[in-house]
Amino acid sequence: MGRLVDLIDKIRRYYKFTPSELKGFVITILVLSFIISFREWGKGRTFDPAVGLFNWFNSILVVALVLIVFTSAQRIVGLSVGYRVEYKMWTFGLLIGLLFAFVSRGVIWVLLPGGIMLHHLAGHRLGFFRYGLSYYVHGLIASAGPISLICLGAIFKIINNYISNPLISKLILFSIILAIYDILPIPPMTGSRLFFGSRMVYSFVFCTIIPAGILLILDINVLFAIVLAIIIGIICWLLYYIFFEHKYWRGPFPKGWGPKK
């Protein structure tokens, strides 16, 4: 219970966005919503700004919800272990996304919003086993983002079974595609952070997120999709260890040198 009270207090104190972060967040929402609504600026091949703006507004709602869930998950996980998470927009990633949208006329969504930066909350890290920053913890905190997106997609998929709505379908698709893009090892996305943090964890998360995304898009039971994705993740993780990791990882002193006993 003490940890829960502590976490609630930390969320109250450190959750809020800084002005620069907020600016980046708003730009990201506008750009990503434009990318996903690119094909909806009119009926058929005729351009209609009224329809386009309406669809863009709908997309803004979808993107805002997904990004809030995404960044909230990372912030809460970060705060739970004594780090403040700051969202950093990736300008070139967004420009690449816009470029792809224009070149492919909105068929290909390239969603590269940005990454996170950690701030060490010195007082709140007291008592933790490893006091400072590390690649591993950075990767784990970042991975909360795509995992939360898959959970969001799964929840809305269940809702969509009862209340079918194009906006909900779009939200599911967007959250899944963003999760898949985010787990690719492209700096500064989550995948790169986790990859350099721990290859073993990366192999599991990567091989769970990708099948989960694909299975959630298919018309099968949500729980079955999630369980199957986790099983695929475990199998791939094991195979990765057997065929690669255990041959190449020889410990911190691979050539036999090290502290004398």
């Binding site: 219970m1 933790f128 039971n221 729980l223 369980v227």
Partner: protein
């Protein structure tokens, strides 16, 4: 009578878990999947009990029980006895794996 979260956190979380368990079991399309999910939930409970070893454990026991009851209420496919047994087996296996250091935790 007002219910404050900080006084009744164990009961409130147990109730929330009961609803989550209920929804999970409702969503399971077959008995096999119900069994897999409850076994995995048992593994998580075992880890939780190991974490609370030599500390106050009753509130956590209550929460885990809440989840199990919710799951049993919502079960459409599968036998409730098998589900309970699988949950307990999962808990014991996970606890023992942690106890024997086969499953280790990397603290960060």
């Amino acid at each position: 009578m007002t219910i404050t979260f900080f006084k009744n956190w164990a009961e409130i979380i147990a109730f929330v878990l009961l609803i989550i368990g209920f929804l999970f079991s409702l969503g399971a399309p077959s008995a096999f999947l119900s069994y897999i999910i409850i076994f995995a939930a048992g593994m998580m409970a075992g880890r939780l009990f190991y974490e609370r070893k030599n500390k106050m454990i009753f509130p956590y026991f209550l929460m885990v029980l809440g989840f199990l009851i919710g799951y049993l209420i919502g079960t459409r496919y599968g036998n409730w006895l098998v589900i309970s047994v699988l949950f307990i087996i999962g808990t014991i296996i996970s606890y023992q794996l942690h106890e024997k250091n086969i499953i280790k935790d990397i603290r960060y």
